[in-house]
Assembly symmetry: C2
Homo-oligomer: 158 residues x 2
DNA sequence: GTGCCTGCAAACCCTTTGCACTTTA
DNA sequence: TAAAGTGCAAAGGGTTTGCAGGCAC
């Protein structure tokens, strides 16, 4: 592998793998070859790859790997907080006809989406260092949490 | 239809429809019954509905409506800036092994995702009015724009 | 009347799942 | 060796598309 701009220092990756092995021990997850390689492939990239890219990359070293193992592994890692998913919680597409500038609160439990308005957030400027990467058109902000209804329900259950 | 809490004043909807008709005239889009009804259904709701909910709602008034017309209409409206989609630009899931607190810049043209760090953004607090809806766990921020490579390419073309 | 729009049905793509076999601890 | 993990193939769910007829302009 060449030292292209999408490379993370090997030292950092080793530390990440070390953390991972410990996390697995602590959580009772088996540290299989497949999982190690998938995590390493992800940790090594700065491209925020999708399941298929990871699959293609890891398969060079592990030709028997199957795509569904990649999906299963990523889901497992995400559930355990070992990795994160970029962007919104994936669900079906939802739409909005509100043309006034606004932001969303999203309940991670029931999926409620609620509009709110905030001049402070509207005025938020992207940090200048981002200019090195590109020009920002919009600052998308999403508050994620638990709505009052879901909280009340939780309290009632306990 | 009852006056539940998910209702938007009819006056506001009428204004929205009026805007829509004008936008269609201006852009040379036909104002069909289906489109009017779909937009009205969306404008009337505060639930940020998905394609299927809209389909079920509109079908009460337009029984011949098909689900793919709803999809086509929503896509058209979105392209023309008449409505917006909640959450990230929908594409396949992409993952991240970076465990340091960070944010993303996303190029809306090529899909590049780039990490950046900002203490200002890390410290951002949700506006207090959101407490009326629920408790915020995380503030998700995404900068959307055009990366330098895509800009250079655009310039080269013109 | 012309060309955009619609409904229908089938295709599509990403992701998930059931099952039998394999591997890890 | 017991339980967890894997590969395979097939299903699943949301979304898109090709086509023939229908409708707005």
């Amino acid at each position: 592998m060449t030292n292209g701009r999408d490379m993370i220092p090997q030292k950092q990756i080793d530390r990440r793998i070390q953390e991972f092995v410990e996390a697995c021990r602590a959580q009772g997850i088996k540290t299989t070859n497949q999982r190690m390689e998938i995590l390493q492939e992800l940790a090594r990239s700065e491209q925020h790859p999708d399941a298929e890219s990871l699959f293609l990359g890891v398969r060079k070293r592990l030709p028997s790997l199957s795509l569904d193992t990649v999906y299963r592994t990523l889901r497992l890692f995400e559930e355990r907080g070992i990795i994160t998913r970029v962007g919104s919680i994936k669900e079906r597409a939802r739409f909005d006809a509100n043309t006034k500038r606004h932001h969303h609160f999203i309940c991670t439990q029931c999926g409620l989406i609620s509009d709110f308005y905030s001049e402070t957030l509207d005025r938020l400027k992207p940090p200048s260092e981002v200019e090195a990467v590109g020009t920002t058109d919009t600052v998308y902000i999403e508050l994620r949490g638990i709505c009052n209804a879901c909280q009340a329900q939780k309290r009632a259950q306990s």
